[in-house]
Amino acid sequence: MPRLITALFSLVAAAGWGMLALHRGETVSAAWLVLAAIGTYLVAYRLYARFLADKVFALDPRRATPAERFENGRDYVPTGRFVLFGHHFAAIAGAGPLVGPVLAAQFGWLPGTLWIIIGVVLAGAVQDFTILVGSTRRDGKSLGQIAKEEIGPVTGTLAMVAVLSIMVVLLASLALVVVNALRDSPWGVFTIGCTIPIAVLMGLWMTKWRPGKTGEATLIGVVLLIAALIGGRYIASSELLAPYFSLSAMTLAWSLIAYGFTASVLPVWMLLAPRDYLSTFVKIGTVLLLAAGILFVLPDLKLPAVTRFIDGSGPIFAGKLFPFCFITIACGAISGFHALVASGTTPKMLRRETDAPFIGYGGMLMESFVAVMAMCAAAVLDPGVYFAINVPMGALGGSLEAASQTIQGWGFAVTPDQLTTLAASMGESTIVGRTGGAPSLAVGMAQIFSGATGAHLAGLWYHFAILFEALFILTTIDAGTRVGRFMIQELGGRLWAPFARTSWYPASIIASALAAAGWGWLLIQTVLDPAGGIGSLWPLFGISNQLLATVALAVGTTLIIKSGKGRYAWVTLAPLVWVVSITFTAGYQKIFAADPRLGMLAHARRAAEQVAAGTLDATVGARQIFNDRFNSALCALFLTVAAALIVSAVTQWIQIYRKRVPVTSTETAFVETAYAD
């Protein structure tokens, strides 16, 4: 019977892939893409995840988990597998898997989709699953602690500095997505702005007025959020109020920085915790809604399967298909950040070891599915519209007419009228040059949803999509700034002990300001730089996130070797080799490529020449040169730290292989579970 089910899933996958393969050169329904993805996930889950669980990790239902042994009614809580799946998914999923595929669609929908589906099965889900099992067998220790104990303490502080700088790039990239989506958009600004007083109200409700009623507070918050979404339309159409909510990119950037700082200093109940509940609710709801929308409407993919931009001439971001397709997809196929969650809250809640494949491997399959849906939402747009939204205005020629000319030059038809009408139907003044991924995803989603509900609701759906993306991102920004603050306090505490006291206001204010200034500075520089934009920041984020994945995979390989299963080490070693080759190639090209569109140092040299020739303003040029050099240094730092960690891990594997070091398991000793089932 199980074999029959697996065979059935294989047929589903084969049907999906087969239809995609046969429809070359004509439009194909998104249904086949969804079918290919789901079929592949199910087969991989039944065969590969089972193999990992039985052969590689030898999961044992009789072995008590940390949740059982340390149960404290707080963080160590044995949790049912379906609840924990949702909890884990909400923690790993955010804006990354939504934005990455939309940008990578510049290569066409096929390359990105292949990497999202194959990458998750062989790399991303394996990483999350391995780290979850590794942490569960070590009392729920974090990736940092495991790395320190398994690979060596030398890299401990270095790794922390690296994670901190990766966080800075992540927060700046995500903040830029929000700035681009909300710039000159009164509807969006009003709706997102409302989430702050809503969160404060929820916080007061759940802690002061009706302590403990977090659920009630969340329900109230959701109702108010929907009211704010609908109310935004009236703000945008009011001549009196609209100008107050129509903000420039610079104002928005400064507001975000102020918000991140404030959320980091204030007690969490006031802003951070309530927004987190709101965001979780919207996150799970939206993913279900998007899946339902795509399956109900079954739109056609209008983007070509592969575009000519695979040669590296793409207008959205520079770089060839290899390695930049893999870098840009970021979280949908493999994400280093997940290793932090898989070694954070989740292992402390796992009820039985044998739930780990469902949570660790299955949770990541779900994230990959979100990325596939984001790819569908980008690919249902007319190619001309897709490029009009995602290419910076500067590169399009500055006006609607010039934009449509430029895009026609690339071989995609689009008229100025078409763009104006589309913007009006979305309730916006313009959609051209709204880079960052979020707006084009929102337009795609609005088209899918209004296919089910009627075109008159397109504007509402567009702003709903913007709302949830901005909500995810602001949740990452406030939580991230706060995590950055704690890291800075911990590092500072090594120099002067009192600085590490988290309840001491001067220290927390200074550390929060430093954390917010870190990503804020990068954000402001990118907003100021006419050549900057998501195309320059997002690849840097992709590289840093995947470098964290190489560290997680190296740690995972060490754990497998030390558990005496060295013959199976290829399960993490193969993805490690692949991810190392894409990240180091991409990092090298971003720094040293001779093409100034791609290589940051070459870009700096060109700016210097232009300033010398008098064709570029000296202030603008100096800023570009500084940004390029700074970003190059940052990129070099990431590569160096990752290389150091990987080299020390490999050295250890070789010593174990040559029997110079005995294989000693570092897992916690077996304790039999008290659970009956």
Binding site: E71, N72, G73, R74, D75, V77, T79, G80, V83, G86, H87, A90, A91, I92, A93, G94, A95, G96, S142, L174, M206, T207, K208, P211, G212, K213, T214, G215, E216, T218, P267, V268, W269, L272, A273, D276, Y277, S279, T280, F281, I284, A330, C331, S335, F337, H338, L340, V341, G344, T345, T475, T476, A479, G480, R482, V483, F486, T502, F541, N545
Partner: protein
């Protein structure tokens, strides 16, 4: 801080107000666990079972402490 004498009993409502028994309560429990909301009844039950006689936090103290703990360190939310 409350003492054992005036501490609440485990059978109080959960975070979604699931005082009633039955299906609605089960859904409430499920959702609040999914969201990772502070669960006071569970904490009280744990204290009664494992640390009888020890002082327990009031519901308000517990909620504040839980929210603070949940967002204190590590990576609570991802990209």
């Amino acid at each position: 801080m409350l003492t054992e004498a005036n501490s609440p009993q485990p059978s109080v409502h959960g975070p979604l107000g699931q005082a009633r028994s039955g299906r609605l309560s089960a859904v409430g429990c499920w959702l609040s666990a999914l969201f990772g909301m502070p669960n006071y009844p569970r904490y009280i039950a744990h204290q009664h079972r494992c640390h009888p006689g020890a002082p327990v936090l009031s519901e308000k103290e517990f909620v504040l402490a839980e929210l603070e703990r949940k967002h204190a360190g590590g990576a609570g939310r991802c990209c």
